[in-house]
Amino acid sequence: MSVVEQPRLEHEVTLVELVDRVLNKGVVLTGDIMLSVAGVDLVYVGLRVLLTSVSALEESR
């Protein structure tokens, strides 16, 4: 399946992973972990979700 020809799919997949990385990875100096960020769904990570984004957009074509 050649999805890389579809910029919109990539964009969606990228955003999901970007949000996950920004919220869950990186240096923590102050020791506070953000558990709740307004408007951001924290239950939202993993390959399955990335693939879901891909398939959902595929089907919407």
Partner: protein, 205 residues
């Protein structure tokens, strides 16, 4: 409030819009002054990190939510950790992060066997097979990586969920290794994303 984006070294050129820096020794603390908590702010944080990756030789992403009352407070926090931050920056110098995930068709779920022993034997076989699949990929990729961080997945459809710290010049070889592996195992779903700023390797002792 001051919002911390990342620490950086070898930063060249003007910082992105709305982003300021303050230097302490070999460490540049990259920050902003707006402190919202919306999805938009989270995405902007990520975009700033991407921009830094293009402008600096070493980037240590800060997790979203690192806030300080003033620039002086941030400066003090950096000063008290200067050596550790410099060491952490040196560890990721010239590198980016690549994430690799491998999934298997859900048909691998346990099936009824004639008795408990048969069931356990079958499960053991599947577990061993999966472990071999994963280690062959990890071995191939570690050849092109400075370090790796593998997620422990006790119960997941994912066989492998790992991040690799890769020299910028080695990204092409790394990606080729992933493609070779995927071609060798068409029954697996393999996803490789990046280059990301090395957030999984941003440990400050």
């Amino acid at each position: 409030m001051i919002h911390l984006y990342a620490f950086a070294a070898g930063l060249a050129g003007p910082p992105p819009e709305g982003v300021e820096t303050i230097g302490v020794g070999g460490v540049q603390a990259v920050f902003g002054r707006s402190t919202g908590n919306t999805r938009r702010d989270v995405i902007r944080h990520g975009r700033v990190l991407d921009a830094l990756l293009e402008r600096a030789t070493a980037v240590l992403p800060a997790r979203f939510g690192e806030r300080f009352p003033t620039v002086e407070a941030l400066e003090a926090a950096v000063a008290s950790r200067r050596e550790r931050l410099e060491a952490a920056l040196a560890r990721v110098e010239g590198c980016v992060e690549l994430a690799v995930r491998v999934a298997r068709d859900a048909d691998g779920s346990p099936r009824r066997r004639s008795d408990g022993r048969e069931y356990m034997r079958a499960r053991l076989h599947v577990v061993a097979e999966e472990a071999a699949l994963v280690s062959s990929l990890d071995d191939a990729l570690c050849e092109w990586a400075r370090a790796s961080a593998v997620a422990q997945l006790p119960a997941s459809a994912l066989l492998h969920d790992a991040s690799y710290l890769v020299d910028r010049d080695a990204v092409g070889e790394f990606a080729a290794a992933v493609d070779r592996y995927a071609a060798a195992y068409p029954e697996l779903a393999v996803v490789c994303t990046g280059p990301w700023p090395p957030a999984s390797f941003a440990e400050v002792s």
